[in-house]
């Protein structure tokens, strides 16, 4: 007779980069239920955003998540440009897409490495992270920083990719392509990886629709959604590429989708670099004099799925309200389907398969533990926290 027990993973677990707490309710080796607790990473970004000007918000939203640090400014730029009705130049479009796709490559490689690590296959981890370095070098060359790029602004980009830089960028990409072939071949043909990931953490097409999952998680189950194609922005309508899908819905299919997407990204970057040659150098911004009153929505395809920003403007120089929805928010809910009924050893890779990103997700105001009915934090308490802080500051600085 087996005994039910609870396995906590986290919040500060050596396997995870970020703090979050999973509770696996197990019956012997089998996971019967899963709950997760977040909030360790809540920083109050939406509220902070209201206190900053539109130019400053770009630096803030970039720091929502370090791995997808272009997707958030991308979506925010789309939203603000919708309010201001700005049409950006073609050169800006190409540069934005290049940065976005480079980020996708680095993020997917990071995931492949971590997935290898979760499987106990550290060779893949070391390989993938080694091949990721040239991409970070490219970022440093183009933007001046390895991780937070600070490239976006309303109506344009901050730095140009000059024509003389196209050749060295192409060369690094060509070198990278060979290494990527090697890595993709090794991962796709490895019998150990096949044994550990095929038929594990399966999400059916219906599950994806029920849980409204997005990004590679959805595409691996045969749901072809991609904001780049469905709601075109930047240079994506100007270049040729296709949406990669797989049918199986297991962890292997998710790995396959990500690995093949990297090839599409390389192809998009190459076409964008060709496009840059045709445009005039330095034509990288449109002057935006004021942001009128209105509501703007912006979407962008992050490496993990759709990022959605909604900005309310009252005509002043900072947003009145800024709402952010990150892809992991809906992807994390699929754990209820993919992990239950699996063994504990398969649960970890199923958890990792959606590439959950908690620093993106933590916009949450109300959390209830459905098991005990215990309230962890509700909206009013959070507003209370904010009010406390205001009065604290007021008393400290003796403001009336």
């Amino acid at each position: 007779m087996s005994k039910k027990f609870l396995i906590p993973i986290g919040p500060y677990h050596p396997l995870q980069e970020e703090p979050e707490l999973f509770k696996l309710y197990c019956d012997g080796e089998i996971v019967r239920d899963i709950k997760w607790e977040t909030g360790y990473n809540h920083r109050g970004i939406e509220k902070l955003s209201e206190s900053k000007t539109y130019d400053q918000v770009f630096f803030l939203v970039e720091r929502i998540c370090g791995i997808c640090s272009t997707s958030h400014p991308f979506a925010f730029a789309n939203a603000v440009e919708e309010i201001a009705a700005v049409e950006i130049t073609d050169r800006t479009k190409y540069i934005r897409s290049i940065i976005g796709e480079l980020e996708r490559i680095h993020s997917h490689l990071l995931w492949v490495g971590l997935a290898g690590h979760f499987l106990g296959y550290n060779t893949v981890f070391m390989w993938a992270w080694k091949y990721r370095e040239p991409i970070l070098d490219l970022f440093e060359m183009i933007t001046g920083n390895r991780n937070s790029y600070a490239m976006f602004k309303v109506g344009g980009v901050r730095r140009d990719i000059e024509n003389r830089m196209i050749e060295p960028v192409t060369k690094i990409l060509d070198d990278f392509k060979k290494k990527n072939d090697l890595l993709t071949g090794a991962v796709m043909d490895d019998p150990v990886i096949h044994a550990r990931t095929k038929g594990v953490g399966v999400l059916s097409r219906q599950d994806i629709i029920d849980y409204a999952a997005v990004g590679p998680t959805a595409r691996a189950s045969g749901v072809a959604i991609d904001v780049r194609r469905d709601d075109p922005y930047a240079a994506y309508p100007l270049v040729n590429w296709k949406v990669i899908t797989a049918e199986e819905g297991d962890v292997f299919a998710k790995a396959e989708v990500r690995l093949l997407e990297m090839y599409e990204s390389i192809s998009i970057i190459e076409q964008c670099l060709q496009g840059l040659r045709k445009e005039k150098e330095g034509d990288i911004q449109v002057k935006v004099n004021e942001i009128p009153e209105g509501i703007g929505t912006g979407r962008a395809e992050a490496p993990r799925g759709e990022v959605f920003h909604c900005v309310f403007s009252d005509g002043s120089n900072s947003p009145l309200r800024h709402k952010i929805r990150a892809p992991s928010y809906s992807n994390i809910a699929t754990f209820k389907k993919s992990c239950i009924g699996q063994t504990i050893s398969d649960a970890t890779i199923s958890l990792a398969a959606v590439d959950p990103c908690y620093c993106c997700t933590e916009r949450l105001a109300a959390v209830y533990d459905s098991g005990s009915g215990r309230k962890l934090y509700n909206a009013r308490e959070l507003i209370g926290l904010s009010a406390d802080r205001t009065s604290e500051l007021r008393n400290k600085n003796d403001l009336k």
Partner: protein
Amino acid sequence: MGFKSYCFKKSLWVFHFGGASCNNCDIEILDCLTPRYDLERFGILLVGSIRHADVLLVNGSINRKDKDRLLELYQQAPKPILVVAIGACGCTGGIFAEGNTFAGPVDKIIPVDAYIPGCPPKPEAIIAGIVKLVKSLP
């Protein structure tokens, strides 16, 4: 050579605490362990429990939920322990210092031995910071 520096003479074992961060510092810390920088050749190893650690790396702004946990970790750590605050958020709170959930910075909660600024600091900067810290021990 004092007792404290004797303890840190050989391989340093590191425990990583990621507070409310944006992940950038976390991936740069992981980057230090991967082939290009490969800190393990100096005996620096990321360990799973604070009870095995010589160094506590803290990054990210600390929010109200993290604060008590960080304090508890510090109390559980075997002394002497070196605490390193990494990144702008770890050092000062950075862009999140005005947030309504902010409870840090790290040095208001636990004593800090070294600060490595940057958003995020490059792996070279992290390595240089650790080297400087070890050299500065009496």
